[in-house]
């Protein structure tokens, strides 16, 4: 093989190696990673939903609980005066609120949602107590979400909503 040919092969090899390295680097850095963004809109939704008056009165009619109060009632195992379980009322109401606010479905921009509410005590060695967890659809793509924190002695009730695209 002539010396000129050797040089060309060497140069081509360097270019190929550099190209492969760059493609791998670009692939890793530009890869469409599932993004977890904090959304102000979802926070506002959660905050406003907490004030929603449900049809569940725990102590007397017409002292109907708000959705925010109902999380505490559900945690305490309270029943509504109409005989319904407060947790059942939550499970009926929350999807209606979410699905009235966003159109969720496999053929829609928002493919799925995850709604979760837990009671968390401030001590480090205690586990969170799940109040309700609702899922709709399959969450695989990028996600926007937010958390709403409400005091519930002892500790807090943390409610989160994640919308998946």
């Amino acid at each position: 093989m002539k010396r000129g040919q050797e040089e060309i092969i060497g140069f081509v090899m360097i270019v190929v190696v550099v190209t492969i390295v760059l493609v791998i680097f670009l692939g890793l850095s530009i890869r469409d990673e599932p993004v977890n963004k904090d959304s102000r809109e979802i926070y506002q939704f959660l905050e406003s939903s907490m004030e929603y008056t449900t049809d569940c009165a725990v102590s007397f009619v017409p002292d109907y609980s708000t959705l925010g109060e109902l999380f505490g009632d559900c945690l305490a195992g309270s029943k509504c005066l109409n005989g319904k379980d407060s947790c059942d009322v939550l499970e009926e109401t929350v999807p209606l609120l979410i699905e009235s606010s966003w159109q969720v479905g496999s053929d829609r921009p928002i493919k799925a949602y995850e709604f979760k509410s837990v009671h968390s005590t401030n001590s480090s060695n205690s586990q969170d107590t799940k109040i309700i967890e609702l899922n709709s659809g399959n969450c695989t793509g990028s996600v926007i979400g937010s958390e709403y924190l409400a005091p519930a002695f002892p500790g807090n009730i943390i409610t989160s909503l994640r919308l998946c695209f």
Partner: protein
């Protein structure tokens, strides 16, 4: 003579090397441009998200203004729907705010019709300002509260406040 031949071969090599270096530089520059254009697009997206959040927060602040605020309970996101309906009737408020569109809309339970004194509260929207101009609208979730005279209790529902700003033609 021998010296001249060697010299021209050396020059050719230097020229060859220079071309290779230029080609590599162009290659890296193109890759860099491609990479940075994607990164800048991401940054623009993030800036847009932040701007939208800010506008949403501004829209939400309207709920706290005395003309809208629900004062029966300590609730920053609550709008007094009875007050808003009364506001709609007063034409003086059409020019009170510098918006081209201002509407309160019920999200859940959803009702379609525009509210009047006759169909209230079984209605969906209360439009306070509608100047029918080119408008860019922004909305924020709020609670729509009112006093239920039948059962005599305060009832809050989920709604949205929609503000329209005149767009630049």
């Amino acid at each position: 003579m021998h010296y001249l031949v060697n010299s021209s071969r050396g020059q050719l090599k230097i020229q060859q090397m220079a071309f290779v270096l230029v080609a590599i530089m162009i290659f890296f520059a193109m890759v860099g441009l491609f990479y940075f254009s994607i990164k800048i697009a991401d940054l623009k997206g993030s800036a847009q998200d932040l701007r939208e959040d800010k506008v949403r927060e501004t829209v939400r602040k309207m709920a706290g203004s005395p003309e809208f605020a629900w004062t029966a309970s300590d609730c920053a996101s609550c709008i007094d729907l009875d007050k808003v309906l009364a506001l709609k009737e007063r034409k003086v408020y059409e020019d009170f705010w510098d918006f081209s569109f201002l509407q309160i809309s019920r999200v859940y339970p959803s009702e379609g019709e525009e509210c009047t004194k006759l169909n209230y509260p079984r209605c969906g929207t209360i439009t306070i300002i509608d100047k029918k101009e080119n408008t860019i609208a922004h909305s924020a979730f709020v609670s729509l509260c009112r006093f239920d005279g039948v059962e005599e209790y305060s009832k809050c529902e989920l709604g949205k406040i929609i503000l329209g700003f005149e767009s630049v033609k």
